[in-house]
């Protein structure tokens, strides 16, 4: 059986795993979305505490998913790791900084003698909540719009601009995806608060904010998707490996991979349903529809970026330095070893689900914030 597992199969398998981790990460950034509203959503300190604790009990999932996403990318597509991280230095450093300040902010914000004061730690949460999703969205947009790098014969990266990745902020399409991810995170954050907190005023406020945030998300998302489908894409020849520009490449990808198109449409439907049932029917389980939709839509977008002869990390500076899942991948043995490791993922999902359910069994209330031993 092992002989039948080809390198190309494993490259696709691992791109699927990477896409799945990325889509889970975008969903779990509801934590960042909630943090970005830490100053604007609550009407009093108690409500702020409830928001922080709702998000604070999940922040490590997002953090761990980001770290695992990085590790899995390193293991399966190390050329991306070296080219992108070593090249777009400032973008990645900015993202990392925003996550470093998040990690301590929850635990320290309400502790006595925290030196910097609660407001500083709340600002840390706000910065992580706003900058993190936005920059991750911008970085992912370069998977479609291209970056400014070249590789030498030893596959060592040379970045073509002194801005080291920050030049991605000059592209309207990159900015649009960055803002779409930010407003999606905020939308999911609001839906999660509606689902997990018991406080009428806070929920009413969340419902009101949901309208504006979901509209903003839709505007930027549609702008990105429409321009994506109408733009040229980075195609590579599966035999020669030569990369060229192809008109409507990403539209072609969706048409030529109908399953991916169905997943994408199901994802968009899920996101819209989650928002819709919350706004129009007052439902409190919109997060599960919108969350599932987020996972499916992002998953499909990643598959569109990497499958069907597409360069997933293209270079707009030197087309043939673009990274494809074939060129950037690890060796057959490494991918095979990692595949066996990945079989444990369903088990990981199972225990996460069980622990999540155990903690979320009861909604967060004002009383709990006063009586619970460990409150952020």
């Amino acid at each position: 059986m092992t002989l039948m597992i080809s390198h190309i199969f494993l490259q696709h398998y691992w791109w699927i795993i990477i896409s799945l981790l990325a889509s889970l990460l975008v969903f779990l950034m509801f934590v960042q979305g909630g943090q970005s509203m830490i100053f604007s959503l609550p009407k009093n300190n108690l409500q702020k505490t409830m928001i922080v604790n709702a998000m604070g009990r999940k922040w490590e999932f997002t953090f761990t998913t980001l770290v695992t996403f990085g590790g899995a990318f390193f293991a399966s597509f190390p050329l991306f790791y070296s080219a992108s991280f070593g090249g777009a230095y400032w973008v990645w450093i900015a993202i990392l900084f925003s996550f470093i300040i998040q990690a301590i902010a929850y635990e320290y914000r309400s502790k006595p003698a925290n030196v910097l004061g609660q407001r500083t730690f709340d600002i840390f949460l706000f910065l992580n909540g706003s900058i993190g999703p936005f920059l991750i969205g911008v970085a992912v947009a370069t998977f479609f719009t291209g970056s400014q790098f070249s590789l030498n014969e030893m596959n060592q990266v040379k970045w073509a601009t002194p801005w080291r990745g920050l030049e991605a902020l000059l592209s309207g399409r990159n900015i649009a995806l960055g803002l779409a991810v930010l407003f999606l995170a905020r939308t999911n954050g609001l839906l999660y608060i509606i689902n997990s907190v018991d406080d009428k005023e806070l929920i009413d406020n969340s419902n009101r904010k949901l309208v504006m945030n979901s509209i903003a998300f839709l505007v930027f998302f549609l702008f990105f998707i429409i321009t994506l489908l109408l733009s040229q894409g980075f195609a590579f020849d599966k035999v020669t490996g030569i990369v060229s520009m192809e008109k409507y490449k990403y539209l072609h990808n969706l048409i030529q991979m109908p399953l991916v198109l169905i997943i994408f449409l199901a994802g968009v439907t899920g996101v819209l349903s989650g928002i819709g049932i919350t706004i129009f029917k007052g439902s409190r389980i919109g997060i599960w529809y919108c969350g599932t939709g987020t996972v499916l839509a992002v998953f499909a977008l990643f598959l569109t970026a990497g499958f069907n002869g597409t360069a997933f990390y293209p270079s707009a500076y030197d087309l043939n330095s673009s990274l494809t899942i074939v060129k950037a991948s690890s060796s057959l043995i490494t991918l095979k070893t990692m595949m066996y490791v990945s079989f444990i993922v369903p088990f990981v999902f199972a225990y996460i689900w069980y622990a999540w359910k155990s903690i979320n069994d009861k909604r967060i209330t004002a009383e709990e914030m006063k009586s619970e031993g460990h409150v952020y």
């Binding site: 695992t68 301590i104 990266v157 080291r164 490494t334």
Partner: protein, 518 residues
Amino acid sequence: MIENVDLTLLDWSRAQFALTAIYHWLFVPLTLGLSFIIAIMETIYVRTGNEEWKRITRFWMTLFGINFAIGIATGIILEFEFGTNWSNYSWFVGDIFGAPLAIEGILAFFLESTFVAVMFFGWNKVSKKFHLVSSWLVAIGASLSALWILVANGWMQNPVGMVFNPETARNEMVSFWQVLFNEVAVSKFLHTISSGFLLASMFVLGISAYYLLRKREDFLAKRSILIAGIFGLFSSLLVAYTGDSSARTLAKAQPVKFAAFEALYEGRQNAGLIAVGVLKESDRKLGEKAVNDFVFKIQIPGFLSVMTGGDKDTYVPGLYDLVNGNASQGIMPVSEKITRGRTARDLLAEYKAAKQNNDLQKAESISGMFRDKKFIDDYFRYFGYAFLGKPEEVVPNVKVTFYTFHLMVMLGFYFILVFALALFFLFRGTLIKNRWFLWVALCSILLPYVAGEMGWVLAEMGRQPWIIQDLMPVSAAVSQIGSGSVITTFMLFAVLFTLLLIAEVSIMIRQIKLGPNH
């Protein structure tokens, strides 16, 4: 391949990695050890139903939480720094090195992060047993994450289980099991986690001593000292044992580091182990580097030879042998290794030229050589030497290596004594009478931190100039970024991490002063 090495860039990139690693290691060992101590205490609570044990558990858990968060904060940057600052390295060995990092995420980090939420927030939400299992899973998850990152680090010190592919210009894994069970990785893992257990035990012992000195929390303090004393004594003995086996492994895998940490320049049989010594630069030179002589030393005669080979007749090579070669002992001079490394590097260039000229036959023939065991053993294993200018560049900073090693070892023996005394006084019921010892225990809290950092400085500076032993020097591994960018991020990290450390220490001290009732 690497046209010009910008030494400013290289030094600041190294400084940034050192800074972030040193900060990270201030927090990780406490997480490693305290998680087990908490799990043991909670087990006693669940088995006895004694609410005092629950109170004890929850107190240490509060301190655990304060430390855990900052450990995570400082950890994320380390993983990504391999890409941002060492991108050439990331490609050259990513096929091998990335796998342990990914497994760490999938197997260990999720275990930790999932169950740490239950540990903190689950007291009133899940059953006692589920909570206990969660606490144990956090402890196991923490140690598992240490395992995988140390497998990765062990591989850098002793690269095994791979073959070089000239087509992709990188090393590729051929045996996952060789990577996992690499003897350097195994001894490093055992030595590192046991040092984490030791550090946490000293932390619990010292803080408990503080309560006894202040005549507070008598029950909590004595019970905590019981657990910390037993766990600490066991751990400190394990640290000594694994330290010894680590040194033996190093003698084979990294003989230059081994000679440097004993400041052994002239190889000999019946070599003595230096117990204490003071070094001074002499007028003699090894290449262009000054040789360090002992101003003063106390040594155990013959012990280094016994440690290395089992008997006094074992020849322990010194730095002169290892740099200049010693034909009678079969040690190749570094100059010859440089020649061989350059042969391998030139062959790689020839391969690339052949590919470019579409000379597939030649390319295939060269590719075959890189898979040939004799070529690998005779030439490719010295690939990294091609980047060196002078033979003496293989010698690390002898003073740093020597002093960090000896300080660490001396502290190791001191810890055994402290834990043994703690148990002795506790069982004799004279702990409170011996206030001097309580002061010693309190003042010793910081010493395992010093020992742990010394250990990492020894491990990482002692293997310079290599990022991967014999295969890649740090100069060839660094990302080609403007040094100004790295200096800026170094400063940012230095300021941020220092601020966070101050906040962490301040919160920790306040929580300790407030005690378990808060």
